[in-house]
Amino acid sequence: MTTVALLGNPNTGKTTIFNSLTDKYAYVGNWTGVTVEKKLGQIKNSSVTLVDLPGVYSLNPLTKDEAVVTSYLLNNHPDLILNVTNAGQLKRNLLLTIEVLELGAPVILNLNMIDDLKRQGKYYDPSILEDWLGCKVKTTNARTHEGVATLKADLANLTADQTSSSPLLLDYPPMVKQAIRQATEALVQDYDMNHDFAQWLSIQYINKNKAVRRYALFHDLTPLRSQEKYYDAQDFEGQIFNTRFSFIERLLAAASQTISSANQVELTSKIDRVVTNPVLGLPIFAGIFFLIFKLSFDWVGTPLSDLLDSFISGPLSTWAEQFLTAAGALPVLRSLIVNGLIAGVGGILVFIPQIFVLFACISLLEDSGYMARAALVTDRIMQLIGLNGKSFIPLIIGFGCNVTGIMAARTIEQPKERLITTLISPFMSCSARLPVYSLVVAAFFPKHQALIVLSVYFLGIVVALLVAKGYQLLFGVSDSSVFIVELPQYHLPRFDVIWHGTWDKGKGFVKKAGTVIFAGTVLIWLLSSFSTHGYVTNSSQSFAASLGRQLVPFLAPIGITQWQTIAALFTGILAKEAITSSMMVMFHTSSQAVLISALGQFINPVAAYALLVFILLYAPCFATLGTIKQETGSTKWTIWSLVSSLIIAYGLSWLIFTIGSFLV
């Protein structure tokens, strides 16, 4: 089996190349570190496996995602490296190419986005590039599939004789060369290393590559480690950089050809003049996101979701009920399937249309190049709480669904900032919380419904910002943060790219509905259908009810005194939208009007507002917790997220209830 590693800078269209070469999907994004998981694909009609590596600017990693590439090269030996570059930005892209060529593995240099280069009125002679660099050069324009077929054929027909190559060695200054030679010889002799690999390792070590220095420490490579101080004192890093850079400048000068430019008006500047305008930038950003929300939750997503909901809760439930009754299933099993699984998992599945529409919009913004601009215009605001512009988008998305919001936080480079964004995301009031707000405001604040709901949303934002500020102080996140965004050229979005992006983001949610949510549903159903005496048909005798009753003394200080509400809050951890339906079940009613009047008898408006605040903050839902676990890779942070929101919710509701009761 032949392995080809796909490697290149961010924003080179690397993932689009991956998608058009293989028959498997991969995520498409425009920022560093989006391709987090290791992605493999099979090149169509061949035995060649393609490994998609995260986009990196150099082999010296700044973030964890970037370290993936270096450690891959340290520990694997791909048969070929396909280096994808942005032809319009070849000068800086070649810095990485040189690092790769020095390794000595066979390389195909792919000049992608060749149209962008031509638009600049330039072209590079591939044969000169091939001569100087000692590797094959292929030009493509992946967005229009231009040149992709030839590239694919080249990779599919990869044979053994093509997979041998010798490393590129630049004419470094004598002192550097000597240092490289000495270290290489010692490594070959004492550590039985392959010469080419030893040489590459030495260059990278001398060049202060953090990952390689860790590798040398781990493998105790004395020839390199003993000279570290000398290398750094002589600023070999700077000398290596200068040699590489002047090599590239000479190469590009030699290969450069002037062609008559298509004389196309600079589309990017034109769009940028509007969307990154200091005055209009923020309103445009707000407008675009308003549109996305309208599309996802009003115009397209919700009608589709409602349709799905009416099918699941209507015909599907009835049919299942009838089928199970006819088949003579036990009432317990019938209840598990109809009231537990179909109601629970179905209740989550109805969100799929909304989520997919939302993801499609986000993929569209990413593919067009707007996302980087959005991060830019919001950076100033986020800086105040120690985050950067890239955190803003995940939080906004969180208003739709916290799960998707947290997943969108992947694009944040700094691990701490990403963690903070993940931890504050659940305070964004997601759309699933809206039904229960509507219920409560209809019952207690009929005259000021919108105002009260808005205040709850606003409170969520304030809490999120305050908590973020707290984490900032706690973690000591300060000025050391890096916020430099590459603003790529705008491109007309392509349908297949958006579809890939949407599916890749959305399939995680579908998978979760089948696993975590499925398990959670069964658990909640057990709690509300069983008591110490076994199966109960009346939920007021269930475990959930008795648990609710026991918790009344603890929640009384914040104004929640009915066990029904408490039991409903438990189901809310499964899915927020379940709170309303659980309340109906617990209060033995099937009509919202009855429930509203029932609620009104029990509590006063102050307690009702405290309840709203508690619902807003008390716990991330099951799916969100699962996502936090998956994205942080830490059970500790997942539990902390649950515990901290519970504490904050309790504290704030208590304050509101206490002060409110005093005033009213």
Partner: protein, 69 residues
């Protein structure tokens, strides 16, 4: 025509920022065009060789020696 600035004083920045700037083709002595700046010391957009890059105001002033305020 947009104003141009020469970038220098890279050594004033932290290592990660320096490296990222290098990665994006910005080096000591390079000339960039200022495309956009935002009020309240918000971010700055610069352009070099058809590449637009967004920076924080503080980094930009450090690179331009703080002379062109």
């Amino acid at each position: 025509m947009a104003a141009t600035y020469t970038l220098s004083h890279f050594d004033r920045l932290n290592e990660a920022t320096q490296e990222r700037l290098h990665n994006l083709g910005l080096y000591e002595g390079i000339t960039v065009a200022l495309i956009q700046r935002y009020p309240f010391h918000g971010p700055v957009i610069i352009e070099n060789e058809h590449q637009r890059i967004g920076l924080r105001y503080r980094v930009f002033t450090q690179l331009t020696g703080g002379s062109n305020q």
